[in-house]
């Protein structure tokens, strides 16, 4: 990146983490981070399931290259947002990878979340994350009910931050339909363009189950693979609702999808000639090798930008 240039787009990802495509979309986001094409600005979970937050945290640790819980903590993971409410039923897709132990008895996929206090309220997390983005350099991907985003809209002063920072809201139809009232309010009041990946998009572009065995062969332990295998009996292809929304959010102008009509939201339209390209992108991103992060130390920044007056 040239000095003074904006960094890659910051993505705020809010999902229910109840379907495998949510997991795959989050894997895509981390892969984008490794490629420098997008940054994970914040991750929120709209279903009150602590394991969902733990899984998101463990995925962060996996892509950051933290092999143990201690290592993950030392790398100072970003907080995961989690909705309040009656705890949801456990999902094998989440609990099995989280419960997986190595020969030493330690978690194969460590995470740093032990209780709800280790998570953040999603609207606060998203507002804070937006404040740290360059103007018009953030996108929000919503793959779940609009509950969290409606709460964000209602937060004092947050709408101004949304207008200033967010250039696109990319939503999945199957996600928002689970809270119709929230969706109605979101579409009526959201101040930026909205693109919606309808059910038909995700159904028409399934993630190929065979890729799980073929394209992830570089590793023997990948939480995405374990989640995929636990979600449904293998082999199966998974609808890609959240992945489509993520792909469009990061690459709106790269011809993966077209947009229908006018108004807000506008629907993603599939160009059949792009199908292989899109599925190829899904596989490439979801199976990408982690690029371990280098921790940035404030003292290093101070060296580049030293205080003029010594105390």
């Amino acid at each position: 990146m040239f000095p003074g240039a904006k960094p890659a787009v910051g993505v705020l990802f809010d999902s229910a983490m109840r379907r495998i495509d949510d997991v795959l979309a989050l894997a895509m986001l981390h892969a984008y981070g490794g490629k420098g094409q997008a940054r994970t600005a914040a991750v929120g979970v709209s279903c009150p399931d602590l394991e969902a937050a733990q899984f998101c945290d463990s995925l962060w640790a996996f892509y950051a290259g933290a092999a143990t819980c201690t290592a993950a903590k030392a790398m100072h993971p970003p907080p995961v947002g989690l909705a309040d409410g009656k705890p949801a039923a456990r999902l094998p897709m989440l609990s099995q990878p989280l419960g997986k132990r190595g020969a030493d008895g330690q978690p194969v996929y460590p995470n740093t979340i032990q209780s709800i206090e280790d998570t953040a309220e999603v609207p606060t997390l998203f507002r804070n994350a937006l404040m740290a983005q360059y103007d018009q350099d953030a996108v929000i991907v919503l793959s779940g009910p609009a509950t969290n985003l409606v709460q964000l809209l209602d937060m004092y002063g947050a709408k101004d931050w949304i207008m200033r920072k967010v250039r696109l809201l990319s939503v999945t139809g199957v996600g928002v339909e689970s809270d119709a009232a929230a969706a109605q309010k979101l579409f009526a009041e959201w101040p930026t363009p909205i693109a919606m990946a309808g059910r038909e998009i995700g159904d028409a572009l399934p993630f190929p189950g065979e890729a799980i065995e073929k394209d992830f062969a570089w590793t023997t332990a990948d939480p995405v693979v374990d989640a995929y295998c636990a979600y449904r009996p293998m082999p199966y292809d998974a609808p890609s609702y959240a992945m489509a929304a993520m792909l469009y959010a990061v690459h709106p102008n790269d011809g993966y999808f077209k947009l229908s009509g006018s108004g807000n939201p506008r629907q993603l339209v599939l160009d059949p000639t792009q199908k292989d390209r899109i599925v190829g992108a899904y596989v490439e991103l979801a199976s990408a090798k982690p690029v371990p992060r280098k921790p940035k130390h404030p003292a290093e920044e101070e060296k580049k930008n030293p205080p003029l007056a010594a105390h």
Binding site: E117, E121, M131, A132, P298, H311
Partner: protein, 446 residues
């Protein structure tokens, strides 16, 4: 004989150039008054320490009822039932938010204002701090709407942190978005502010005065005798203790002045400032106690040392600067030294809390009617983290708080939510402050 006539709360002992406010006395409560009217006021104070804290030595590994306290908080053991430890409070506006380096400047400027300060050396801008919002509302009832105190370096100009003005690192309270309130550092200046006629004397003028008189109390002796004759034995004892505490402070200041004159009469240092950190801290906090006790003010901010300070602590055999030490890079020896500095600060604070608790007021202690926040604008000073800020509240805020607990909120909970809750306890009701998202819950007795 029982009468409804009471001593006015705002009674002063007056003398030439002197006005000594009184503590809360039984005689100030009408005999047949309702309990509500007799309730002492709630006061609040902020004691800010710089450069973060070694959090392993601060955070207990449990929530709920306070039991054994971690190393840095050990000096607070005797007051376990009087303190509340709050976890996970965050100042998002202290973070870089695209402004790059300068966490020390930002964290101090945003601490009580709740806004992101403008990165500038000359064109400063933050926001009205919440203590000043409270002072504007309740300050009319006291001689001083608020007091701003500190112990080190009150430079208001220049670059103190990566192109952040010293106005950001050296002030806690902001009257307006461009007008910080510099702290009083010199105990003599504070003493004269509290008990004088508002004029701070030159050292020469003070020396002349000292030659002729022994104590500020001499000037008010007539009023004192007259008042004593009308007080019951309990109030007489309270008054005697109170005036003795003023005299003790006065003697400490005179001693510091004498010591300083012997060391170097031309020293570039406030004249009445003790060279010893603990002694300076004690003097300032003793006067804070008196100011609260006599209801001279209900709002105090105390910037112990300025944010980013590189002050060494030779008092405890630490010759390295505080700030460089905090960038310890996980080196155990350096962490140990920072821990010792953190503990040293808390030791001084605990000594103050002991005094505030020892003062009887109404049905309880002065501490019961206070909310004294001890904290920092950074948690981990090594990594410059603005979340899980070390936050301790001493007191019950006038029977509003149920202390003796550690309460851990969810991550990213704005520190400004605490301020909203505190404003409520001070009788100041606003809907939003800074980046607040609501009032901090769980603090209440209920």
């Amino acid at each position: 004989m029982i009468t409804k006539k009471a001593l006015p709360r705002r009674t002063f002992l007056r003398g030439v150039g002197t006005a000594v406010a009184l503590p809360f006395l039984d005689a100030m409560v009408p005999a047949l008054a309702s309990a509500k009217n007799a309730k002492p006021p709630v006061r609040m104070a902020f004691v800010y320490v710089p450069n973060g804290i070694i959090m392993q030595g601060w955070n207990p590994d449990y929530e709920g009822q306070l039991n054994e306290l971690p190393r840095i908080l050990k000096p607070m053991e005797p007051f376990r039932q009087d303190i509340t430890l709050l976890g996970n409070l965050t100042h998002n506006t202290g973070r870089a938010l695209l402004d790059g380096a300068g966490d020390h400047g930002r964290c101090c400027a945003s601490y009580l204002t709740g806004v992101q300060p403008r990165k500038s050396v000359t064109d400063i801008k933050a926001g009205v701090s919440f203590d000043q919002i409270v002072a504007n509302q309740v300050g009319r009832q006291t001689r001083f709407p608020s007091l701003e105190l500190g112990m080190e370096d009150a430079r208001q100009a220049g670059d103190c942190d990566s192109r952040y003005s010293c106005a950001y690192t050296n002030n806690l309270a902001w009257r307006s978005e461009s007008e910080p309130l510099p702290p009083i550092l010199d105990p003599r200046a504070l003493f004269e502010r509290l008990f004088g006629n508002g004029v701070t004397m030159t050292p020469e003028a003070r020396a002349r005065e000292n030659f002729y008189r022994r104590s500020i109390l001499d000037f008010v002796s007539d009023d004192t005798h007259q008042l004593e004759n009308n007080l019951g034995p309990t109030d007489r004892r309270k008054l005697d203790e109170y005036l003795s505490s003023i005299r003790a402070v006065e003697l400490q200041i005179q001693k510091a002045e004498k010591d300083n004159a012997q060391i170097d009469p031309h020293m570039d240092k406030p004249y009445g400032t003790p060279a010893d950190f603990a002694e300076h801290f004690r003097l300032m906090t003793d006067m804070m106690t008196i100011a609260f006790q006599s209801d001279l003010t209900r709002v105090i901010t105390f910037l112990v040392t300025h944010e980013g300070t590189s002050r060494p602590y030779r008092e405890i055999d630490i010759a390295d600067g505080h700030h460089p030490l905090t960038h310890h890079r996980n080196h155990p020896d350096l962490i140990e030294k920072v821990t010792q500095i953190n503990s040293y600060h808390v030791t001084q604070f605990a000594a103050w809390i002991a005094k505030v608790k020892a003062i009887r007021e109404g049905d309880g202690s002065l501490l019961d009617n206070c909310m004294i926040v001890y904290g920092a604008g950074l948690s981990d000073g090594n990594r410059h983290l603005h979340e899980d800020l070390p936050t301790l509240v001493a007191g019950r805020g006038g029977s509003h708080f149920k202390p003796g607990r550690r309460i851990v909120y969810r991550k990213e909970t704005p520190m400004c939510n605490l301020f909203l809750a505190m404003m409520d306890r001070m009788g100041v009701h606003v809907e939003h402050f800074g980046d607040s998202t609501g009032r901090l819950d769980v603090l209440d007795l209920a």
